[in-house]
Symmetry: C3
C-alpha cells in the first residue's frame, strides 16, 4: 500500500470551464507505478469546482458555463453580496458541482472513459490561482 500526496496550484483561469487533465497527470509521475488504486482530487475553495465532462468539443465548456450560470444566476435575491455579484452564485455552483473527484486507477493509468476529461470550473471573474490536493493510494 503506497500513499502519494501532492499540492497542485493551477494557473489562474478566466471564469468558465477549463480542461486540466494534462496538468493533473503532469503532477503525478508516480501514477505509472500503481497497478490498482484510486486518485482523489480535492479543491480547497468554495467558489470554484472540479468536475468530469466531455473533453472534445470546445462548445461543451461554453455551454456548461452558460447552463450553470442559468441554474445559479447572478440576479437572484442573495443576502451575501458584499464580495460582488459573482460570489454567491459561485458558492451555489460549488455545492452543485462538488469539491472533489475520485477516479479509479488500473495498470498505471486513470480509468477515464474515452470522452472524459477533468475540468477546473472557475466561477469567479477573478478567482486567481486555485489550489488542489492530489492524493493517490493503492498498490
Amino acid at each position: 500500500m503506497a500513499w502519494i500526496q501532492h499540492p497542485l496550484q493551477l494557473p489562474a483561469y478566466s471564469r468558465g470551464f477549463h480542461i486540466v487533465t494534462h496538468e493533473v497527470l503532469a503532477a503525478l509521475p508516480e501514477l505509472a507505478q500503481f497497478r490498482i488504486g484510486v486518485l482523489h482530487i480535492f479543491i480547497q475553495h468554495t467558489s470554484a469546482s472540479i468536475s468530469i465532462n466531455e473533453n472534445a468539443d470546445a462548445d461543451v465548456p461554453a455551454d456548461l458555463e452558460s447552463s450553470f450560470s442559468a441554474i445559479a444566476p447572478e440576479n437572484f435575491p442573495y443576502r451575501h453580496t458584499c464580495e460582488g455579484p459573482d460570489d454567491m452564485p459561485a458558492h451555489v455552483k460549488a455545492s452543485i458541482l462538488g469539491s472533489s473527484l475520485l477516479i479509479p486507477v488500473a495498470n498505471g493509468a486513470l480509468c477515464l472513459g474515452t470522452w472524459q476529461g477533468i475540468y477546473l470550473c472557475e466561477h469567479r471573474r477573478r478567482g486567481g490561482r486555485r489550489k488542489l490536493v492530489l492524493t493517490l493510494w493503492g498498490e
Copy 2:
C-alpha cells in the same frame, strides 16, 4: 489490505432514473469478506450518471427525471447541438449528479440507509450499455 476492481457493463436503459443496487452487488461476490472498507462506483461516460436516492416508490425516479430535465432543459440556447437535443443537457446533468459514488462497507455489506438505493441515471434517449468501474478496498 485487499483491493478488488471489476468492470461492470450494465444493460441498456431507457432515458430516466433506474435502480441498479442489485446489479452492483451481484458483481461483487468478494464484498462479504470485507470487515471494513469502501466501495467506489465510477461511470465512464459524460451523458449518464450514478446517484443515491429513495428506493421504494416508483414515482420517485419519474419525478427525478422530470426535475432534472427542468433544471437542464433541452430548449436552452446551447452551441453543442450536433449530437441531438438531448446531448448537451445530458452533459449538464452529468456534472450536476457526478461521475462516482463512494459507499462505506462494514461487516461484509454496504452501509446504505434503509431507503437508499443506487441509481443509474440515463440522460440520453439511446444511451446504450453504460460501463462502470467498481473498486473495493479495505480489510
Copy 3:
C-alpha cells in the same frame, strides 16, 4: 494502514444549511495519528445532504437554502407527494448535492481550505436526527 469507522448521529436541525465541522472533528479523536490519508463522510438519508461551502458569513447558508429551494421548488408537478410538499424536492436536492464527502488528511488534520466548512443540508421541515458514517483510512 489503519482503518477507523464511526457512526455519528447529529442533533436534529431545522430546514436549511448548517455547519457541522466541529461535530465531525469531535467524533474523530484518532485523526491526529494519521500522517496521510482521507476522511469519508457518508449520509444515510435521501432527504438530507452533506456539502462543503463557505464557513464565515451567516448569510451564505441562508442563501444556499433559498437558492437550492429555487432550483428544486415545492411547486413542481411531482407525482410523489404522499409524504408532504417538502419531500420530493428534498430527494432532488439530495441527488444534486450528493451523499458523501471525501477530504484529504495530512499531518493529523483535514486539508480544508481556509474558507471551507462541512455542512449538513437539511431539506425537510422535520427531518429529525440524521445519521452519518465516518470512515478514515491512511497511515
